[in-house]
């Protein structure tokens, strides 16, 4: 059986900090990280790390370079699982991951306490697993399995 390899990807700030809270759960897997800024302090020199371009709903001009950057990572690293805490680049990675037959997991940010984010709602149709961090927001497609604090 092929060894499990995770691509863990997130935008900077709160998304990234929440992704890093999941690191203890990755101990039995190979992990590749991707974020949209310089190597984060949470990672060590041994960690495999990629930088991708940042985009949001307000700044879409780099979308094609972001897509090609993600495809390069998928082709080179051949992850078996994608896990993301958002935002838009993570959602795009899930979509691309589906084309490559990769298992995909979305964890919606704990900041979304009153409703699941727009990206999270879309992810609930795209990802194999979609999670909220607020029990009251869970439904048929978006489950609650715990939270980062």
């Amino acid at each position: 059986m092929k060894r499990r390899k995770i691509l863990a990807i997130a935008s900077p700030g709160g998304h990234w900090v929440q992704l890093c809270r999941l690191i203890p759960a990755f101990s039995e897997s190979d992990v590749v990280y991707a974020c949209t800024y310089n190597k984060a302090s949470e990672l060590s020199d041994d960690d495999n790390y990629y930088v991708i371009g940042d985009i949001s709903r307000d700044s879409m001009q780099r979308i094609f370079s972001v897509i090609s950057g993600i495809i390069k990572i998928l082709k080179k690293e051949k992850p078996t699982i994608i896990i993301t805490t958002g935002a838009l680049p993570g959602l795009i990675t899930i979509l691309l991951g589906r084309f490559y037959g990769i298992k995909t997991i979305w964890l919606d940010s704990i900041a979304n306490s009153e409703k699941v984010s727009m990206s999270g709602k879309i992810a609930s149709y795209l990802a194999h697993n979609c999670f909220t961090q607020w029990e009251g927001l869970a439904d048929e497609r978006i489950k609650y399995v715990g939270r980062v604090i």
Binding site: R21, L22, A111
Partner: protein, 162 residues
């Protein structure tokens, strides 16, 4: 030292100016470092920088007595990680400070979390800052919710092998 941070996406000069006013009003001798994002705010009261490299940011976090921040998850979780008190002041979409009002929701949901102190007005902010020596940090033991998340995630990953 007091660290003020508003993330890198959109400036939040309303908070920076309030902290600036508080320093002028109280004449505090505490050093203040303010990370202001893409803003040209300047002040003689504090050290102002637009962004801070991750390594330097860790140093500021380690050195500060407490943090003043927008209600961003990155700041809140970082403060809990290093067990430092954090005063959060939510951005408002109506003032062009964010795309939506999720920071108000964050402030509401974190109001009862140890080590997190919410201010939404100048008066609330000044009163917290002037009593900062009474603010305790949070982020003690790992919560059951967090342990549950880690074991569930590990389990899901275990059963996702192709």
């Amino acid at each position: 030292m007091i660290l003020v941070t508003v993330g890198t996406q959109i400036p939040f000069d309303r908070l920076i100016a309030l902290v600036d006013d508080w320093i002028s009003e109280t004449g505090t001798k505490q050093e203040v470092v303010a990370q202001v994002g893409s803003s040209d705010y300047s002040s003689n009261n504090m050290t102002v920088c637009q962004s801070v490299e991750p390594e330097q940011f860790e140093k500021y976090i380690a050195d500060c007595d407490f943090i003043i921040s927008h209600a961003g998850m990155g700041s809140i979780l970082t403060a809990l990680r290093v067990k430092k008190p954090i005063v959060i002041f939510p951005r408002k979409a109506a003032l062009g400070e964010h795309r939506n009002d999720h920071q108000l929701a964050t402030a509401k949901s974190f109001a009862n979390v140890d080590g997190v102190y919410v201010a939404t007005t100048k008066e609330e902010l000044f009163s917290l800052l002037s009593n900062s020596s009474n603010l305790g940090g949070g982020g003690g033991e790992d919560s059951n919710d967090y342990k549950q998340l880690l074991s569930n995630m590990a389990n899901i990953l275990e059963h996702s092998s192709s």
